[in-house]
Symmetry: C2
Subunit: 217 residues, 2 copies
DNA sequence: GAGGATAGATACATGCTGGTGTCTATGTTG
DNA sequence: CAACATAGACACCAGCATGTATCTATCCTC
């Protein structure tokens, strides 16, 4: 269910390349949290000036991936266990709010449910194929579609930053364990059922149980 | 109830001045939504180069106050009525989540309640003095303290951007009308009561009624 | 003479400046 | 109406000034 959000800012080719490269370095986990590096490193790597790199750093600072220290450099913002709790709480709140709003527009409900069922089928296929990585991606996509169904640009964008942050945390922890895959699929189906039934309360409890089971075990 | 969040980034004196000036121009409503202006204008106004202005623009773009158009300039992001609904929904979700989490840490509850009661007393004083502007500020502060009580850095920051956005919308609409002041105070007291009683459901319904009454009338 | 503190020097990274090339939109001319 | 010229604005670059942390050599104390 595509819903219009702000497009990615296009600040120029060099700035975008610097942004993509730096973000990849941070999100891939190659740079440990707290690692200090400089604009010059990225600039040299890409063969560009420091100016576009600086722009990229500022954008990444706005996304909370970097923290710029005056006259020192940029540190990779570390993700802490306490923050994990924060991310999960925020995700819960956003998803619940999205469902709440969706249920207030009954005419949009069938399409949203169909969209979620399609996403679930894709995830099921990845599970059958034993592709854990694709499964995890489909999992993110499923929850993202729940939020998108709420049609609130602000929360959609905020949720995207949360997902990114969680991805960084999971990178350092273990990925999804194969034996939990069937449970995840079953719980996703249950989430869809509560939405279909207009059971806002039931969705909230099911979602909390779901997230608890996956990430807080 | 102070709770640590990220400090404002300090990118240098010139960049900060450019940031403050531009933000003031946008938030004060002097520049209408959709107005196009250039880096050079601000740079000339402050007597600095375009580079720090560019940094300020990027920060403001991250805050959704500006939209930078390549090779064209910066437009003031307009606030639309549909977005008003989005902002209110998001605010609701965040405040409810904060209370939910607060109620999960009973030992923090008394201090939080006392904090909210103090904020309410201040607001009451402004109402008695007939200072509508100070009343509105105290109102923002009250709701901000509810969110702060949830002690979730991520949602606290997000909520701050929401409040800013709402401020811009209210700037174009009417401010708080004096005859609604007593009702607002009564509803705030009721919100505190539901929190004190651990009535999460009651808080949600009371909050929704409260926000509906103020902003969606 | 040994050890530690301190002042100077060094390396490094940022913050900002001025300027160049390029792109977009606008106005002009045939 | 189309092609061209023009003006405005950005995207980027190279360089200078400034600030910070580190390293070193000297000095003082014991």
């Amino acid at each position: 269910m595509p819903y219009p959000t702000s497009p990615e800012p296009d600040a120029g080719p060099a700035a975008d390349r610097a942004y993509d490269l730096t973000k990849k370095l941070v999100l891939s986990g190659e740079l440990p949290g707290g690692h200090l590096f400089s604009e010059g490193e990225i600039a040299g790597l890409l063969g560009v000036s420091r100016t576009p790199v600086r722009e990229a750093f500022l954008r990444l600072q706005a996304e909370e991936l970097l923290r710029l220290i005056p006259k020192r450099g940029a540190v990779v913002v570390p993700v802490s266990p306490e923050e994990a709790e924060d991310v999960l709480d925020a995700r819960e709140a956003i998803e619940i709010a999205a469902v709440r709003r969706l249920l207030h527009s009954p005419d949009l409900l069938p399409a949203a449910v169909a969209d979620l069922q399609a996403a679930l089928r894709i995830q099921q296929a990845h599970a059958d194929a034993g592709d854990v990585h694709a499964f995890a991606e489909a999992d993110e996509d499923f929850h993202g579609r729940i939020v998108a169904a709420g049609r609130n640009c602000l929360t959609i964008r905020f949720y995207a930053t949360l997902a990114e942050r969680q991805q960084r945390m999971s990178m350092r922890a273990l990925g999804p364990v194969p034996e939990r895959l069937p449970g995840v699929l079953r719980e996703h189906a249950e989430l869809i059922a509560t939405i279909e039934n207009g059971d806002e309360q039931g969705f909230g409890t099911a979602l909390r149980a779901h997230l608890d089971g996956i990430h807080r075990s």
